[in-house]
């Protein structure tokens, strides 16, 4: 054992390297982001304007709220494919319990604004609880459980609005979705609050540490006396509640609640989390990564709207850039983990 002392005594400079390498997997998506920003700024004069920065923030806000919960789930090495569906269902529940104009033609049950919000929150909580129950109690892999929930959420949407579109939401939510506090839209503020709280909880609370530990090595967490099932159940519910909030604010932001409205948010939110560098295998990453990922996708989507290329080509180009970003991430991570691979 004494032999080890000398071996590790000269570890100072590797430590610095380690730190840099550790940063690398965070720096990689950041570089992608910088590259995209520079590229679009050169390619379009309207891209790098203050107004457009506001646009990008606006545009990623709903995804951001969803991605906060999803980050927790993915940090635990699980997945939630039902985020968009739960968001949609919650938004529709909210509208269902709000008085709609007669032209909306929905046989709904209007209640007080506060009650509607609570009912909507309760529904997303309940859907999350079903996910949590399925994953932790019954033992259905989260991929499958949330795949089923995706369809159930769509079913709830269909049942409630029956092909119609609802336009009204309670005033509080309408304010959050459509108004601004000075120059800053509330929806951006809500997203920022979610990201901030999400980050603080992950970094400064016991629960946050457990999330990383459960994702890093579930068995070890269990043998350390961590209530792994409770943590997993919590993240599934957190994810659903974040999605539900995104759905509520979203229907206000988009001005309507209808079936399939949020479909594209599933790929967007998963992409944001993984492009940011949070590992699908759990234990590594965080809200910081997710923010970078959100910005990469937000800038990409927005930037492509600013430059004049064939609409049909845009889809392909977006796919290719996404792939490139992922490859860069992987190489950065490779460089990093070359060092810190666990011994066998």
């Amino acid at each position: 054992m004494s032999a080890r002392v000398t071996e590790t005594g000269r570890g100072a400079s590797p430590a610095v390297m380690n730190w840099l390498r550790g940063r690398l997997s965070n720096i990689a998506p950041f570089l992608t982001l910088l590259f995209l920003i520079v590229f679009f700024s050169i390619a379009s004069p309207s891209f790098a304007t203050l107004g457009n920065v506001g646009n990008i923030l606006n545009q990623i806000s709903i995804t951001a709220i969803m991605a906060v919960g999803l980050t927790y789930v993915i940090l635990c090495a699980e997945i939630d494919l039902s985020v968009a569906s739960v968001a949609n269902a919650t938004g529709i529940v909210l509208a269902y319990f709000t008085l709609q104009d007669s032209y909306a033609n929905i046989a709904n049950v209007p209640v007080d604004g506060w009650a509607a919000i609570l009912l909507a929150l309760a529904s997303c909580f309940a859907l999350g609880a079903v996910n949590a129950f399925g994953v932790t109690r019954i033992g259905i892999p989260s991929f499958i459980m949330t795949l089923a929930m995706l369809q159930i959420g769509a079913g709830i949407c269909a049942m409630l609005v029956r092909g119609q579109i609802a336009y009204n939401v309670p005033p509080l939510i309408a304010t959050l979705g459509q108004k601004a506090l000075g120059p800053i839209p509330y929806v951006v503020i809500v997203a920022a609050v979610f990201l901030l709280v999400g980050h603080l909880v992950l970094t400064y609370t016991r629960f946050g540490r457990y999330v990383y530990m459960v994702g890093g090595n579930r068995e070890a967490a269990e043998y350390s006396g961590v209530n792994v099932k409770l943590v997993l159940a919590s993240v599934m519910i957190i994810s659903a509640v974040c999605s539900g909030t995104a759905g509520m604010v979203g229907v206000a932001y988009f001005g309507s609640a209808q079936q399939n409205e949020f479909d594209s948010y599933l790929l967007d939110s998963i992409s944001a989390v993984v492009v940011g560098g949070t590992s699908l295998f759990g234990g590594r990453g965080g809200i910081g990564n997710t923010i970078v990922g959100l910005l990469v996708l937000g800038v990409l989507n927005n930037g492509l709207d600013h430059i004049n290329i064939d609409s049909f080509l845009k889809i392909l180009i977006r796919g290719l850039i996404l792939l490139a970003a992922l490859i860069i991430n992987i190489y950065a991570q490779r460089l990093r983990s070359a060092q810190s691979a666990p011994a066998h």
């Binding site: 054992m1 090595n217 070890a220 810190s340």
Partner: protein, 503 residues
Amino acid sequence: MGVGTEAAPPLLELAGINKSFGGVAALREVDFTLRAGEIHGLVGENGAGKSTLMKIIAGVHADYGGTLRIDGQPLRFRSARDALRAGIGMVHQELSIVPDLTVAENVFLGSQPITRFGVVDWRRMNARAAELLRDLGIDVDPRVPIGSLPIGLQQLIEIARVLFSGARIIILDEPTSALSPPEIERLFGLLRGLRASGRSMIFISHFLDDILNVSDTVTIFRNGRKIVTAAASDASKGWVIENMIGKGHEDLEESYTSDMMLDSKPDAAVVLETSGLRHGRAFRDVSLRVRAGEVLGIYGFMGSGQLELARALFGKLRPDGGTLTIGGRQVTLNGTAAAKRAGVAFVPESRRSMLFSHEPIYKNMSISILDRLHPVLLRPAAERSLAERHVVSLGIRPPRVDQALGTLSGGNQQKVGLAKWLTYLPKVLVLSEPTRGMDVGAKEDVVKIVRSLREQGVGIVVVSSEPETVLSLSDRILVMRKGEIAREFASETVSKDRLLDAA
């Protein structure tokens, strides 16, 4: 020490092997020679580089410095496949079977017999597998999934796969850790038989008696270097230990004393009591009692149910029946968190299932006590200072609490796994195979830690299939056989032989 020189090139010759993982050297300028028809024992501390060298021979690691020759021919394997083709087979330290495939397929893993038409010949495969296993004294249906068998059998079948693969060079990296003594004897018989037929074997074990018993030649590794190679007949155990750890071995002798007086403590409070505990087919009718400041050893061969029992004491397995009383209160543990709350601590046998290798040392140590530091928030400063205390008192090297745990040696990792329970002493500490795969130095450290905890009044349960471990730690010993308590040793002298007899 006489290594004979012969005219013909040796079967396997490694010269100047260097290997590092991300800048950390695992092997430095290692020379190694294996002759045809010899059993070559390999010993060394944890992390000395034994497995790494073997993985180079077996083609798992392709990027290394130095040369490898077989029959004088320089070769470089790029994959396990290359090595297999060159006649090198290896039983890895970690069990590598495919649990969902049948026994027969696991025997022929990767080289299933095929018919003339290139189609897998299931009938021949099953017949051959049954036949080969029967030669080894294993009588199982070759068509059942191997995952449904006891772990010792799985290990034997994996060994059988390599032995029967027709390899000229057979590497066995700690193959006996999951085997019972009779199984080990049987295995040695087989190895000797294979040697007689001209095959060569490299055998790694931390059981020095076994090594000296079965090998012709012994090579000792320390800290990535080969220290010495000698004929086994010339080597004594003391001499081997001395070379392994690079210092005098007097202070290590104690743990090798096989006999010790067992005395129970009749007046201390009972901290753990079970009555009629049972779980499926793993164990049944287990009634035991542990007092504060007492170490209860539970010995049994692999698969005797003692590992499952340990898990049940920590709420990881839910017993089907019986009662569990901790600190005088009868409890139902529905999870490890509940067990922790009730005052039970647990250290599992596998490092992989105990530690977070990407996380720094201090987070590994504090994971179990976060709730005591603050109900909601983290207290990183407190975590660090506690960790620093443990690092010093346990002699963990390097003593840097921010270092990722995965970069520590196995023994040090194991100490970290223990340390997480030492800040707030539990009522009951359950240790499952606490010294498995540990070198003698690290074992001694564990013994010291356990003794000091006992002094502080913790009731300790040590579950192991290694007689030395149980004997060196316990005040009282229960022997389990096929899921039942077969025998209790208290207040008497126990030798290894008596222990084995009872199991």
